[in-house]
């Protein structure tokens, strides 16, 4: 800027200034990003912190910090419904993952690798497109009547079926993408060697599609574990409901046990957060792959 004659020197100077400006820009961007990340984590961390606080410290007007396990031991005590609700949630998740896994894998295999009559392909395809768009609440009245008619209202089996219906279209889509990636030559080779359709599915296709099955099962498991609406409307509460509904029932008009509430919330969240750290690639793949389609 100042000395036009020293061309080389100013060149390096400008370079250095440019580099410094770029470093500064990078740093600013990182700072903004870090602040945003903090906004996204802090609420969760605060709940986990509160689950180790006494109710007195939580209600206090001042900043008081305890470290107590009272809340955790209280919610796991015998007279509380949480153990039963935890067991319910685990049974529902396991049942849904198995049922949804079987139904989605078979349907996706049929769609991807076998020749189906056009009306079957159209029906399954249309279901996969339409069902995820329907608000679950719009289906609740119908599910309610159907479960009453079949005597499944309030049962775990009923909730397993409903959760499977909600997750099946998405799981089928993920599995179909998985099957599409397997080269058709493998199937032809198997059929030339005399393997039946069922046999080549079981011994060749299924092992190859296992990664997709794990992704879709993980996704189904998280969605089912988090499911609230069906548990709320199809059970009568107490020991018959899943954990998510148990959490909501702790918020009562007169006395709220904030510490215990936080502890149950953390109990529902921390396992999934740990799973997400271990399998973030899979969950991200599940979220983005299915939703882009």
């Amino acid at each position: 800027m100042t000395a036009g004659s020293h061309a080389i020197k100013t060149g390096t100077l400008a370079d250095a200034r440019l580099r410094r400006r770029k470093d500064l820009a990078d740093l600013t961007c990182d700072a903004v990003l870090a602040l945003l990340l903090l906004l996204f984590i802090a609420p969760i961390v605060w709940m986990i912190v509160l689950s180790f606080q006494s109710d007195r410290a939580i209600i206090s007007m001042f900043w008081e910090l305890d470290l107590t396990l009272d809340n955790v031991t209280a919610i796991l005590a015998d007279d509380q419904p949480f153990r039963a609700q935890l067991a319910n949630s685990l049974v529902i998740v396991a049942g849904t993952v198995v049922l949804c896994g079987i139904a989605s894998t078979l349907a996706a295999y049929g769609l991807s690798k076998l020749r189906l009559p056009w009306w079957l392909t159209a029906t399954v395809g249309a279901s996969c497109a339409v069902v995820p768009m329907l608000p679950p609440m719009a289906l609740v009245p119908g599910f309610y009547v159907t479960l009453i008619q079949t005597g499944l209202l309030g049962s775990l089996a009923g909730l397993i079926i409903l959760n499977t219906i909600l997750n099946l279209p998405f799981a089928t889509l993920l599995m179909k993408i998985g099957f599409d990636e397997i080269p058709p030559a493998l199937q032809e080779a198997a059929s030339i060697d005399g393997a039946s359709e069922a046999r080549s599915f079981w011994t060749i296709m299924l092992p190859l599609v296992t990664p997709s099955l794990i992704t879709s099962s993980l996704f189904t498991a998280i969605m089912t574990w988090n499911e609230f609406l069906m548990g709320l409307t199809m059970t009568s509460g107490g020991t018959t409901s899943p954990l998510s509904v148990g959490i909501a029932s702790l918020v009562q008009p007169y006395e709220v046990r904030w510490g215990q509430l936080s502890a149950v919330g953390s109990l529902a969240v921390v396992p999934i957060m740990i799973a997400s750290v271990l399998a973030s690639k899979r969950i991200i793949a599940g979220m983005t792959r299915g939703s882009v389609k």
């Binding site: 990003l33 969760i44 349907a107 049929g110 279901s127 009245p141 609230f228 918020v251 939703s291």
Partner: protein, 305 residues
Amino acid sequence: MALTFWRRSSVFAKTTTLPFLVLIVGVGGYSWAQVVLMAFSHLRIEAGEFVWQPAGFDNFREILANELAMYSLAVTALFVVATVVLSVVLGLVLALLVQRSRRLNRISQVVLLWPAIVAPVVVSLIWLLILSPNIGVLNKLLDTVRLPTQDWLGTEAGAIVAIIIVDVWHWTPVAFLMLYTALCAVDEEAIEAARCDGANEWQVIRYIKIPMLMPAIIGTVFIRAIMGVKAFDEMYLLTAGGPNGATTLVSLHIRDVFFDQLNYGYGSAFSVLLVALMSLAIGAGMLVRHLRAIRPFSATREVEA
């Protein structure tokens, strides 16, 4: 030979879709048929049995005459527009920042996943612990820095703002992940070429990255809009539709009518109306895209292709 192969295997082929069809078309379709049937019926429970009476369009007339029903449609529309715009813009900003950052790239992808996988009912609990006028940490913070405390959940406008903030916090990560994935797939050569031509960072974002991301942005808007209409769990604990019904989103209205007022016909009719309105909106959106796509020499056509 191929023909005999297919014919021989067709029984197994058809069987593969059987479980899917039984569950979705069987149970799901049957349940939806019940909703439609109930929408045109008067239902009472007598001695533990449903008593059905045909009602024609009575239930729909009742909806049109119900102020809260109309309000819930309006407030849901406002909620959807606000949450879609905010979460897509914030998601885009995050995607651009994360892609640029070398130090925080990996950790961002893990951490930003968390809000999206937290159970929605726990999300409402988390925000109750923050926004509650009595024990909320926000008031403690405001008090500490000598600012006036808030009671958003107790006022009508404040409660609407609160559920929008909560929903944006909850679902921006999904918008981020979709846009980030698309951003990583953007052709690096176009960006390099623009930089060689002297474009600065802002111009690269404005004229290269965002146009190339347009299909992904439209997809994200669509998915987020659907999620907005579906919203229920987060509001159920946080505001329960209040104060004075200010945050009664459509799902909360259906639950209230069906399970608390036991007005089964009305609740079902509202479900049918909601799905019909959504179909109309989606149909209109697709029509607009279609018309834009066939317009000759349009810029969007090239970008989308």
